[in-house]
């Protein structure tokens, strides 16, 4: 037991080292690097909510907050999966030399993205105060939502990372796919405005489910509908199982390939 804890500690240490290195690389050349983590979502919020206010027929209360939450959660999905997809190929050198399990590189990218999201949510506090939204105890829901979302992301990332080793075209395809997802996840357009025939498609989209659940608990202070909980949990379980299985089956193959 003690040994196991020790190993995990080592992994955490490794993840933190890689994180630190990457973050330094990203920001050391910039004067205001850290500030960007906070400012980005704010700027997005302002622009999106001014330009798209007209296409919404039914007035949404606190539309900027609506947009902000959408963008933040979506960014989490996008940067985590995108980073994780490339993590194995880009850490080739480390992968060959060190003996750490391959999964570590994937988790590291996801943690990186989660960190950025955390910064964004810190930014959300003054915004919520500005719009005078009253928070209730139901905010606690955000913890399970966040956990389930992360599990979904881990599942997707594992599948993508394996595929990316075999054919790099998946990178292009996925970037197109994600750009399209912006519009299929109600990031800044509410569900009511979407044509009827594709609305069901939206409701099964995990990104949409996460976004709308966070909106429920932060903006409206309600508990999300039970069907949302069922859907997000089943997505999480399904993707985790499939992702793990797929990863295990292909692990030896792609390690050899690299």
């Amino acid at each position: 037991m003690g040994k196991r804890v020790n190993v995990i500690e080592q992994y955490i240490f490794a993840i933190r080292q890689i994180n630190y290195k990457e973050y330094k690389n990203q920001t050391n050349e910039m004067n205001l690097g850290w500030l960007w983590d906070y400012l980005n979502p704010l700027i997005y919020m302002i622009i999106m909510s001014t330009y798209y206010q007209n296409i919404i027929v039914k007035k949404i209360e606190n539309f900027p907050v609506f947009v902000f939450i959408g963008i933040t959660i979506f960014n989490y999905y996008q940067s985590a999966t995108n980073g994780a997809m490339r993590s194995i190929v880009s850490n080739k050198q480390l992968l060959i030399k060190s003996q750490m399990p391959v999964e570590i590189y994937i988790y590291q990218k996801i943690i990186m993205a989660a960190r950025t999201m955390f910064f964004s949510f810190v930014m959300l506090i003054p915004i919520i105060m500005f719009f005078k939204i009253r928070l209730t105890w139901r905010v606690v829901q955000i913890i399970p939502i966040f956990l389930l979302t992360t599990i979904i992301i881990i599942g997707i990332s594992k599948i993508l990372a394996v595929l990316y080793v075999y054919f790099e075209d998946i990178g292009y395809l996925y970037s197109v796919f994600m750009t399209l997802m912006v519009f299929v996840s109600c990031v800044f357009v509410p569900l009511e405005k979407v044509p009827d025939n594709i609305r069901t498609l939206f409701q099964y989209n995990p990104i949409y489910i996460s976004i709308s659940m966070v909106r429920d608990c932060l903006m409206y202070g309600t508990v999300s509908h039970i069907s949302y909980w069922v859907k997000i949990t089943s997505w999480a379980v399904l993707l985790l199982l499939v992702g793990n299985k797929f990863f295990k089956v292909n692990k030896n193959k792609f390690v050899n390939l690299i």
Partner: protein, 253 residues
Amino acid sequence: MKYGIRQYIFVIRELTAREIKRKYARSVLGIVWSVLNPLLFMIVIGIVFSGYSLYPEKYPVYFITGRTLWILFSTATMTSLTAFEDNKSLFIKAKVKRETFILSRNYTALVNLWFSCIALLIVYICVGVKINWTIIIIIIDVFLELLFSIGISFILATSYVFYKDIKNIWNHLIFIIAHMVAVFVPIERYPKNLHQITQMNPLYIYPNIARQCVLYGTFNKKELFIAIIWAVVTFILGIIYFKIRENEIVKKI
């Protein structure tokens, strides 16, 4: 003199070929992506956004035309941003003119646009757009936009040598601007007070001229006039800014 220009063009073409090869180095489909990308986008965005347009049946053509021109600007400027840094060694050693690096990146974007035109043609034929003489206007329009992009590229690439923040800022700005220039949603859908500003925005004007030509076979003289002014002024400003700071760049790199 003539020899000089020839050599100049040769270098640009070589650099561009290298750029394209590098971009698609490990990809199976390679340059086909330049054709597939706009088509894929058009299909999905068409499904989601055509409901907002006043003329849903024209939306696919509206979107794909506007986006193609928008992508020319965004890729040209985003790739040029790091042009000097990426070619550091060539920049110092080789006796090529330093402008070449920027021009080659812009030319790469133009080549990409050329491939996207295949996608455009497919869509036009399928939808049954009548192509008439206004197609010439589009060519002029693309040329003007390229001039504008080159101007912006010079300013960005020069600044990037000194302030690295620019890269991050520009990436985000591009994403934001895309939503400000009526690429996705037609301008009628914007709030009234934003119309005036958007109509003066060069990045709205260039795609718009092309859209007008394709959809209605007409063009607005005033708009074309503004487009020319923007292109020429930005181009000259870009070159001047670069020339002033050229020596500083060499020192810094």
